[in-house]
C-alpha cells in the first residue's frame, strides 16, 4: 500500500460525519471512530463507508477487500486501503449527501441518447408519473458517482442508502456498469431495471452498436445484463421480453445464481382519436422502425418495388426520421411530413427482431391495420383481426399483404385490446419498486 498524505486524511475525516450520521453513530468523528465502524460493519455498511468516504460508488473489489481485512482483524490495513481509495478517487472537491429511504430514478441512459426499443418512452413515462419524493439522478462525467439530474456540476454526489433504485433504460457503459453492479450486489438498496430483452446478445448482428465495437470505451449490453442479474426485480416490457429474460436467467445456474423475479409490465398508451382511413387514392403506409433490427428496410423497399411494378399505388412514410439513410433516400419512401393526426391506412412492422413496439401498439389501439414480421413482438399479434403476419425478409409475402390491404381498405380494423394508460403503467411499476 502506498502512503497517503495529511490532505487525504483531512478529506476523509471531512466526510466521516456524513457516514456516521447515515449509520446513526453517535461518537465524535475520528479515525478511531471509523476504525470501530469498520470493525463491526455489515457488508452493506462497508459499501456505504467506501461510497461516502471516497465520494464515488465503489467497485466490488474494494468492498471485498475491506470485508476480508475486517475478517482478519486488520483494521489499520482497512483504514489504509480506504485512505488509498480516497486518494485514488481524485475527488477532493466533492461533497457527499446520503439519500435515505427515497425512490431514486437513474436517468443517465436517457441523457446519453443511447436507447433500445422504447426505452426513451419508458424513461419519460416513469419520470412523468414518479412518486413525489423521487430523486432523479445522473452519473458524473467520470461515471464514478451519482449527482442530481439537474446538477450544474459533479461536485455534490449522492449515495443511496436503504432506498429503492430504478434504471429505466440501459447501464451498458462498462465503467458505470461495474459500479452499478456493485451497487446492486452490495449496497442493500432495492434495485430494479426495465427488461427490454437480450437481443444485442442473441442477435448481435442486428445491434452492432450494442457490443460488437472493439474499442475499450464501447458500451457492452452484457454489462447491462450483469447489472440486471443482481437486481431485486426486472420489469419486462412484453411477454416476448419476459420469455427472453427467462431463458437468460436460466443460464445463470452456471454462476450459482437464479436471477431476479421478472414482472411483466407492458408500457401504457394514451388514447388516440384517429380519423377514419381514406377510401381512395394511393394506400398510405407508415413503416415503423429505424435500424437493422427494427425496420428491415431492404425488404420493405423490395416489396414496394414489386407493388409499383404491379401498378399498386402505395405511398410509404418512414416512421422514424433516423431510419437508415441510404434506403430512406429510395424513391419508394417520402419523408414523414405527415401532421400528427393525419391518418395512414396501415403500418408495416417488419422488424427481424423485436420485443416491443410502441408504434405498433399505437396503430392497433387506433384501429389501423398492420403487417408484421413473424418474429418476436410481431408473433404476439399474429392471428388478430386486422393484423397480417408474413415471414421475416419475405418481400413477396409483404407485397401480397400490402396489396390485399389496398383491396380491402377500410374493411378490416384491429380490435382494440384495451391498453392501459401510461399513468397506470407507471403506477404499477413504482408500486413494485417502492413496496
Amino acid at each position: 500500500m502506498r502512503r497517503v498524505g495529511s490532505k487525504t486524511r483531512r478529506l476523509l475525516l471531512s466526510r466521516l460525519p456524513v457516514l456516521m450520521d447515515a449509520l446513526g453513530a453517535t461518537a465524535a468523528p475520528s479515525m478511531g471512530a471509523l476504525r470501530g465502524i469498520i470493525g463491526s460493519a455489515s457488508r452493506e455498511e462497508l459499501w456505504l463507508t467506501a461510497a461516502v468516504l471516497t465520494a464515488t460508488l465503489p467497485e466490488g473489489g474494494l468492498v471485498r477487500r475491506l470485508r476480508r481485512l475486517q475478517d482478519l482483524g486488520d483494521l489499520n490495513d482497512a483504514l489504509a486501503v480506504l485512505l488509498e481509495s480516497v486518494a485514488e478517487a481524485k475527488a477532493p472537491g466533492r461533497r457527499v449527501e446520503v439519500l435515505i429511504g427515497v425512490p431514486v430514478l437513474d436517468l443517465h441512459g436517457s441523457l446519453t441518447g443511447r436507447r433500445i426499443g422504447d426505452s426513451e418512452e419508458v424513461a419519460r413515462t416513469l419520470t412523468s408519473h414518479a412518486p413525489a419524493d423521487v430523486v432523479q439522478v445522473r452519473w458524473t462525467a467520470e461515471h464514478d458517482a451519482l449527482v442530481r439530474l439537474d446538477a450544474e456540476d459533479d461536485q455534490a454526489v449522492l449515495v443511496p442508502w436503504k432506498s429503492s433504485y430504478l434504471v429505466p433504460d440501459l447501464v451498458d457503459q462498462v465503467d458505470r456498469a461495474a459500479r452499478a453492479h456493485t451497487l446492486f450486489v452490495f449496497s442493500g438498496n432495492r434495485c430494479f431495471g426495465v427488461g427490454y430483452g437480450v437481443g444485442p446478445l442473441t442477435f448481435s448482428e442486428l445491434f452492432p452498436e450494442h457490443g460488437l465495437e472493439k474499442e475499450v470505451s464501447s458500451p457492452r449490453y452484457s454489462w447491462n445484463m450483469a447489472v440486471l442479474r443482481a437486481s431485486a426485480g426486472v420489469l419486462a416490457v412484453s411477454a416476448t421480453a419476459e420469455a427472453e429474460l427467462r431463458g437468460w436467467f436460466a443460464m445463470l445456474n452456471a454462476l450459482g445464481v437464479e436471477g431476479p423475479p421478472i414482472h411483466l409490465e407492458p408500457l401504457g398508451l394514451e388514447p388516440a382519436d384517429v380519423p377514419n382511413a381514406s377510401a381512395d387514392g394511393p394506400l398510405r403506409v407508415l413503416v415503423l422502425g429505424r435500424d437493422a433490427a427494427g425496420a428491415d428496410l431492404p425488404t420493405v423497399v423490395a416489396a414496394l418495388d414489386r407493388l409499383a411494378a404491379d401498378g399498386v399505388e402505395v405511398v410509404a412514410h418512414l416512421g422514424d426520421p433516423g431510419a437508415e439513410p441510404s434506403l430512406a433516400q429510395h424513391p419508394a419512401f417520402i419523408a414523414d411530413d405527415r401532421e400528427g393526426d393525419e391518418p395512414v391506412d396501415a403500418v408495416i412492422h417488419m422488424a427481424p427482431y423485436s420485443t416491443h413496439s410502441l408504434g405498433l401498439d399505437r396503430a392497433i389501439a387506433a384501429g389501423i391495420p398492420a403487417v408484421v414480421a413473424e418474429t418476436g413482438y410481431g408473433l404476439e399479434w399474429r392471428g388478430r383481426t386486422g393484423v397480417r403476419a408474413v415471414p421475416m425478409h419475405d418481400e413477396v409475402g409483404l407485397a401480397e399483404a400490402i396489396g390485399s390491404l389496398a383491396r380491402a381498405r377500410g374493411q378490416e380494423r384491429p380490435v382494440h385490446p384495451g391498453f392501459r394508460s401510461p399513468a397506470e403503467y407507471a403506477r404499477s411499476v413504482w408500486s413494485i419498486v417502492t413496496s
Binding site: 466490488g60 473489489g61 471485498r64 476480508r68 475478517d71 482478519l72 462498462v174 461495474a178 453492479h181 430483452g197 437480450v198 437481443g199 446478445l201 442473441t202 442477435f203 448481435s204 448482428e205 457490443g211 460488437l212 472493439k214 474499442e215 475499450v216 470505451s217 464501447s218 457492452r220 452484457s222 454489462w223 445484463m225 450483469a226 442479474r229 416476448t240 421480453a241 420469455a243 427472453e244 429474460l245 427467462r246 431463458g247 437468460w248 436460466a250 443460464m251 445463470l252 445456474n253 452456471a254 454462476l255 450459482g256 431492404p298 425488404t299 423490395a302 418495388d305 414489386r306 411494378a309 427482431y353 420485443t355 413473424e374 418474429t375 418476436g376 408473433l379 421475416m392 418481400e395 413477396v396
Partner: protein, 506 residues
C-alpha cells in the same frame, strides 16, 4: 518471432488462367448439383449452360442450399446473409435470362474485389468437414486447443474427415499445409513449429473447399469475420453445422472478464444459433446453452438442439510423484490468475489458516491473467514469510507431479464450463475443494471432493482446514479418487462423432 512462408505468386494478369479456374468451379458446381458434365468441353458457352442449369435447379430446389453453393463456388467467397437475400431478391425481380447475367457479373465482381478468382474449388460432399483454423495456425495450447488436439486425431485415423482452415481473408475454407496439420494431428509427437506469419497465404493456389450436404463441425470459437459467414452457412447452405459448447462466460459474466472483451464471442453465438447441434461439455454448460437458445426462441425462429457430451480427462503422463523438498503439506491451485478463478479468496482463507498456526505450502500453477490484485497479495504474503509460490509456464509432467504430490487441490471458481483442474486432480488421486454448483459440482459429486459456496470465504477456509487436519477424511477422499475411472478421450471422441454424424438431432 514467427516464420514467413513464401509461396509462388500467381500471375493474375493471365485472363486465361482466371477463366480456366472459373470454368473448373462451374463444372465442379454442376457435377455436384446436376450430374456428370460432358467431357472435354471447356468453352465459355458450355460453362454458361452449366451455370444456367445450376441456377434453374436452385429455383426448383425451393430451399437455398444450391444457391449458397453456387455463390460460394463462383465467387470464391462464402455468402453472408446480406448477399443471400440480395441474390434471392434479384431472382424474384428478374426474368430468367436477366437473372443469369446479373448473377454472373455479380459473382465475378465479388471474386475480383474480395475473392481468389485464380483458385479452383473442391466440393466436400456428404462428408464431415472440421474447422480447426486456430489450432492449425497457432501454438496456443489451453482448454479448447487441448480438446481439439485430443479429439480430432482420434477421428482422423479411421473416419472420413476433412480438416479445414479459413483462407487468408477468411472468405472460404481451404486445406491445411503440412505444418498446420501437425499442430492439429500430431501435437506433442513432432517438434513444435514456430507460428508462420502467413504473409503469402493470400497467394495459395490449392482448391478452396465448398461443403455440400455435409456436416461442418466447429470445435473452436471462430473470429468475427468467419462467424458472419458461418452464420449464413448454417442458415442457407445444405450443410448441417455442429459445435462444441464450452461455456457462455463472456456473455453472462462480463464482470469477471477483461474489459471490454467478448466481441468475438457475440458473433460466435450468433453463428451457432444457426447450427443444428451444440454438444455441451458438461451438464452445466448444456443448461447454459439451452438457456441462451431459449432466449433466442422467443423470437420464433430456429434454435439448435443442445445435447451433453461430457469432456474427458487423462490421468497425466506416468511419472513418480516428486518428493517435496519440505516437510509441510502442499495445497495446489491450478488455473490462470483472473477474478473468475477466485484466487483472492484462497489467499484470504490461507492467511487465516496460517495465522491459526497450521503449516502448509500454497502453490499456484497457471498463466498470468489480468489484474485483480492477485500479484500484489501474493507479494504481500511472501513478504510476511508465508510459503506461497506462483509457477508459470510449467510443462504437463511438472503439473501432474504437482497434483500427485499435493495433499489436496483447491478450485473454487465462480464460473466454469467444465473445470478441468477438478477432474485432473481427482484423476491423479488428489482430493479437491471446489465449487458447489455448475460443472465442478457435477464432477465432485462422483467422489474425491469437498464442495463449498465459492462466495463464502468462511466455507472455503473450513473445507481447507478439514483437509489439512483430518487425515481420515483425506484418506476417504483419496480412496474415492482411486475408485473412479476417468472418462477417456477415446470415449469422448467416439460419442461426439456419433452425435455430429447422426442423421437428425433428437
Amino acid at each position: 518471432m514467427g516464420r514467413v512462408v513464401r509461396g509462388r505468386r500467381p500471375d493474375l494478369n493471365t485472363r486465361e488462367r482466371v477463366g480456366q479456374a472459373l470454368h473448373q468451379r462451374i463444372r465442379a458446381l454442376y457435377e455436384v448439383v446436376v450430374g456428370p458434365a460432358a467431357l472435354a468441353d471447356d468453352s465459355d458457352a458450355s460453362a454458361a449452360r452449366m451455370l444456367q442449369e445450376v441456377l434453374d435447379e436452385a429455383e426448383r430446389d425451393g430451399g437455398s442450399g444450391v444457391l449458397w453453393a453456387a455463390i460460394a463456388a463462383v465467387s470464391t467467397v462464402y455468402p453472408d446473409e446480406t448477399r443471400m437475400l440480395e441474390a434471392q431478391r434479384a431472382r424474384h425481380s428478374m426474368s430468367r435470362d436477366r437473372y443469369f447475367l446479373w448473377f454472373l457479373s455479380w459473382s465475378a465482381r465479388i471474386a475480383t474485389l474480395e475473392g481468389s478468382p485464380w483458385r479452383p474449388v473442391q466440393f466436400v460432399v456428404d462428408s464431415v468437414l472440421v474447422d480447426v483454423d486456430r489450432c492449425a495456425r497457432y501454438n496456443r495450447h489451453t482448454g479448447i486447443q487441448r480438446v481439439v488436439r485430443e479429439t480430432i486425431p482420434r477421428w482422423y485415423g479411421n473416419r472420413s474427415v476433412t480438416l479445414a482452415r479459413w483462407d487468408f481473408e477468411s472468405h472460404a475454407y481451404e486445406s491445411l499445409p503440412p505444418e498446420d496439420e501437425d499442430r492439429v494431428l500430431r501435437w506433442g509427437q513432432v517438434p513444435k513449429q514456430s507460428e508462420a506469419l502467413h504473409l503469402d497465404d493470400e497467394h495459395r493456389e490449392e482448391p478452396l473447399f465448398v461443403p455440400h450436404r455435409s456436416r461442418v463441425v466447429l470445435p473452436e470459437v471462430a473470429s468475427h469475420e468467419q462467424n458472419r459467414l458461418i452464420q449464413a452457412l448454417g442458415r442457407y447452405s445444405s450443410n448441417r453445422v455442429a459445435a462444441i459448447g464450452y461455456d457462455c462466460i463472456p456473455l453472462t459474466s462480463p464482470d469477471m472478464m477483461p474489459r471490454p472483451g467478448g466481441t468475438e464471442f457475440l458473433s460466435y453465438m450468433a453463428a451457432i444459433r444457426e447450427a443444428e447441434l451444440v454438444a455441451g461439455i458438461s451438464v452445466a454448460a448444456t443448461a447454459e446453452f439451452r438457456g441462451y437458445f431459449q432466449a433466442v426462441a422467443a423470437q420464433g425462429g430456429h434454435v439448435p438442439t443442445v445435447i451433453e457430451c461430457e469432456l474427458a480427462v487423462d490421468a497425466g503422463p506416468a511419472s513418480n510423484s516428486s518428493t517435496p523438498d519440505h516437510a509441510d503439506p502442499t495445497i495446489v491451485v491450478v488455473g490462470s490468475h483472473e477474478p473468475r478463478k477466485n484466487h483472492l479468496a484462497i489467499l484470504h482463507a490461507s492467511e487465516r489458516l496460517w495465522r491459526e498456526g497450521l503449516r502448509f505450502r500454497l502453490d499456484f500453477y497457471g498463466s498470468p491473467g489480468f489484474s485483480d490484485g492477485f500479484d500484489e497479495q501474493v507479494h504481500l504474503l511472501a513478504k510476511r514469510g508465508r510459503p506461497v509460490a506462483v509457477h508459470v509456464g510449467v510443462d504437463d509432467t511438472t503439473l501432474w507431479a504437482a497434483y500427485r504430490s499435493a495433499r489436496f487441490s483447491v478450485f473454487p471458481s465462480l464460473h466454469e464450463g467444465y473445470g478441468l483442474p477438478v477432474s485432473e486432480s481427482i484423476a491423479s488421486g488428489t482430493p479437491v475443494v471446489t465449487t458447489d454448483y455448475g460443472s465442478t459440482r457435477e464432477i465432485a459429486e462422483r467422489g474425491g471432493a469437498l464442495t463449498i459456496d465459492p462466495r463464502d470465504d468462511a466455507a472455503l477456509e473450513d473445507a481447507m482446514k478439514r483437509l489439512l487436519v483430518d487425515d481420515a477424511l483425506l484418506d476417504r477422499l483419496r480412496q474415492e479418487c482411486a475408485s473412479l475411472v476417468p472418462r477417456s478421450w477415446q470415449q469422448y471422441a467416439d460419442e461426439l462423432w456419433d452425435l455430429v454424424t447422426r442423421e437428425a438431432a433428437a
